[in-house]
């Protein structure tokens, strides 16, 4: 039987490999240029093309939402995706292979920062133009970016350090409320905090501070879980961290000055795409720096064998505390951004449902891997939007998918892979 399937798939695989082969030599620079062109193309001809294909309006998320809502439109969606995204990107990748590689090599002659910034600018431009199509797409884009940050921060504890922490909704809540309390009390005429203190346009300076403050509050809160982690591991710590989430939730529910169970609303509209993008890039950069240093690798050592780590001079308590506080800080920043994107938070946002979501993203994408967190967060968010028409069945399909992943790839899709910026931006030939 095995031989039969082999002989069936082998030629297909080989043909796919020969087809894909030239694309393996395409530098990231060319891919990003392709994506940018595709985004511009959609901006220019997306609407008429969608109309011609009978789609009515531009498919928001690669037509994922349409597939279940109106299955008859699927051929139109496929043509649209092919014409707007796949063909232009593929064509430009092929055409600029040589040029892209040359340019990438040229850029690397300066400090790596230069090339990194060029790539990030291209990526940002692509996202900005792509997100311009409508508000819904822009919102999904921002929430997805924030999910990347939150997923990666949880990955620090659950993946890199291997503790099963359920405390992330608590950290998110602390960050969201911490940041919101500052911005709402200072800048908004609110019936909870009274009239605005500042009326000028101070957002660009106060907003980063309020996010960092939210992060710090979350980091301090994380000590409640970090200190027990010195002595307990595994299931017991999971229960402690779960309790932490509930404590934070009921604590905020009973905190009248931030609105109690009614929640806190009318945050200033500061979390626009560039702000979110910069914060997420900085967060990913810092987290990736940390987990690739010997100090960060100490998390892996503690996970795989704590006694050995201790005997090799690793200060395990400090390592655990740093991991929890670091992770909670970025979760807090993510929570603050989240609150300012939705411009409304209430305590019940940060309950079991949120926990399931963040855990799903981490385990779907892959443990101990920045790639995994990106794949997990983006994949999960797209899937979640695509399955929205199914309403309640969405929460049957997503768990089933998770179960399948846990069976066939227990550590997630892209686990244990180092995220090496140099390798990404380097020329491929």
């Amino acid at each position: 039987m095995a031989v039969k399937t082999d002989s069936f798939t082998a030629p297909t695989k080989r043909r796919l490999a020969t087809f894909w082969q030239p694309y393996t030599r395409v530098a990231m620079l060319s891919w990003l240029t392709g994506a940018l062109v595709a985004a511009i193309l959609e901006q220019l001809v997306g609407r008429p093309l969608a109309f011609m294909l009978g789609l009515g309006k531009v498919p928001v998320l690669f037509g994922l939402v349409i597939i279940l809502k109106a299955p008859l439109l699927i051929p139109g969606v496929i043509v649209y995706v092919l014409l707007i995204y796949i063909l232009p990107i593929g064509l430009i990748a092929r055409l600029t292979t040589k040029l892209g590689n040359k340019l990438a090599a040229e850029l690397l002659r300066y400090p790596m920062l230069v090339s990194t910034v060029v790539h990030l600018v291209l990526l940002y431009a692509t996202l900005q133009i792509w997100g311009n199509i409508n508000d819904y797409r822009n919102l999904v884009l921002r929430l997805t970016l924030i999910s990347v940050l939150i997923t990666l921060s949880l990955n620090v504890i659950n993946g890199y350090m291997g503790e099963f922490s359920c405390s992330h909704p608590g950290f998110l809540a602390l960050g969201a409320y911490g940041a919101s309390a500052v911005t709402v009390s200072l800048f908004v005429n609110d019936n909870l905090f009274g009239p605005a203190v500042f009326t000028g346009n101070w957002g660009w300076i106060i907003f980063p501070f309020s996010l960092i403050l939210g992060g710090i509050i979350a980091a301090i809160g994380s000590l409640v879980v970090a200190i027990p982690s010195f002595r307990t591991r595994g299931d017991y710590l999971a229960i402690i961290s779960l309790a932490f989430t509930f404590i934070i939730k009921s604590f905020i529910e009973n905190l009248e000055f931030v609105g109690g169970p009614r929640g806190l609303s009318s945050q200033p509209d500061w979390a626009n795409l560039p702000t979110v993008f910069i914060w997420v890039v900085v967060g990913v950069w810092v987290i990736n720096n940390f987990v690739r240093s010997t100090m960060g690798k100490a998390l892996n050592a503690v996970r795989d064998d704590e006694i050995a780590a201790d005997a090799m001079t690793v200060n395990t308590r400090r390592t655990k505390m740093v991991a929890f506080m670091f992770s909670a800080f970025w979760a807090g920043v993510g929570g603050g951004l989240f609150a300012h994107v939705l411009r409304y938070v209430n305590p019940s946002t940060f309950g079991i449902q949120k926990l399931a979501e963040v855990l799903a993203m981490v385990y779907f994408g892959g443990l101990n891997s920045v790639y995994g967190s990106i794949v997990g967060a983006v994949g999960f968010n797209l899937l979640s939007e695509a399955l929205r028409p199914l309403e309640i069945f969405k929460w049957i399909i997503i768990p089933v998918l998770l179960i399948l992943i846990m069976i066939f790839r227990p550590t997630g899709l892209v686990a244990f892979k180092e995220f090496d910026v140099h390798q990404i931006i380097a020329p491929k030939e």
């Binding site: 810092v286 720096n289 940390f290 240093s293 010997t294 100090m295 960060g296 690798k297 100490a298 892996n300 050592a301 996970r303 795989d304 064998d305 006694i307 050995a308 780590a309 201790d310 005997a311 090799m312 001079t313 690793v314 200060n315 395990t316 740093v322 101990n368 244990f416």
Partner: protein, 256 residues
């Protein structure tokens, strides 16, 4: 001056007396053996001296500084490197990362360096890596540097564990059954490596071993531990012919 000095160390696990009135003094550069039947308390002595357990009574000093009450990572940083009876390697890490990790105590770039990738960090990480390569060469495992430890043969893993212990810059190296589970060929290699490491780095070595031949050839002095008590101490020859030791291992002769 004595490097490692232990005086009247006693340890109870609940009501069980694991180690009783244990004394030891090791000079710099000495190779000391610790033998004894299974369950005699040999590994417990290692665990007591490296801070995994705190002895119920007694004093232990390294270069005059007390080891009692210190945590394992502090003791390791003070200069006691160790290997484990059942290999304790980190299964998701590469060989080189293992050796790098043991330089943790020498890192001074701090969290700022770790978060932002400062120049100081690049410099220190490069230094650490160079030292790790050197140690891997010393134990003859440098060609496996980039491999994951789960794919490597047992004999190599033992060497990696030793290189890792050496990366902590120990003054004394504790080897817990370094040849357990090895075939005669690997045994010979291990012996050569231990000799090589000893002559290259000049560290003192304190080793637990079951194989008499190994102990007899390597050690300057040997202690025999039975039921937590030292019954004999001396040169390998003295130990080999000591009737108490023979009795502990083989039992009493019926005629006498």
């Amino acid at each position: 001056m004595t490097l490692l000095h232990v005086q009247n160390m006693t340890h109870y696990f609940g009501g069980l007396r694991a180690v009783y009135n244990y004394n030891l003094s090791i000079e710099p550069g000495e190779i000391r053996g610790l033998i004894g039947p299974n369950g005699a308390g040999k590994s417990t002595i290692f665990n007591l001296l490296t801070g995994v357990h705190t002895p119920t009574e007694g004093e232990a000093t390294l270069n005059g500084v007390s080891l009692i009450g210190k945590s394992p990572h502090e003791i390791a940083a003070m200069g006691i490197g160790r290997t484990f009876q059942n290999l304790r390697l980190w299964r998701h890490m590469s060989v080189l990362e293992h050796i790098n990790m043991a330089s943790y105590a020498h890192i001074t770039y701090g969290l700022v360096g770790a978060f932002f990738g400062t120049a100081l960090r690049q410099k220190q990480e490069a230094e650490i890596e160079e030292k790790s390569y050197h140690l891997l060469q010393l134990v003859g495992a440098d060609k496996f540097a980039d491999q994951n430890v789960t794919n490597l043969p047992y004999g190599i893993l033992r060497r990696i564990e030793m290189a890792r212990a050496l990366a902590t810059n120990p003054k004394i190296l504790f080897l817990d059954e370094p040849t357990a589970g090895m075939n005669p060929e690997e045994l010979k290699e291990m012996m050569a490596i231990i000799r090589h490491v000893h002559s290259e780095l000049g560290v003192a070595i304190f080793l637990i071993e079951h194989r008499m031949k190994f102990v007899m050839e390597l050690c300057d002095r040997v202690q025999t531990l039975v039921f937590g008590e030292v019954i004999a101490e001396g040169t390998p020859d003295e130990i080999q012919n000591n009737p108490l030791v023979i009795e502990a291992y083989l039992g009493k002769d019926l005629d006498t």
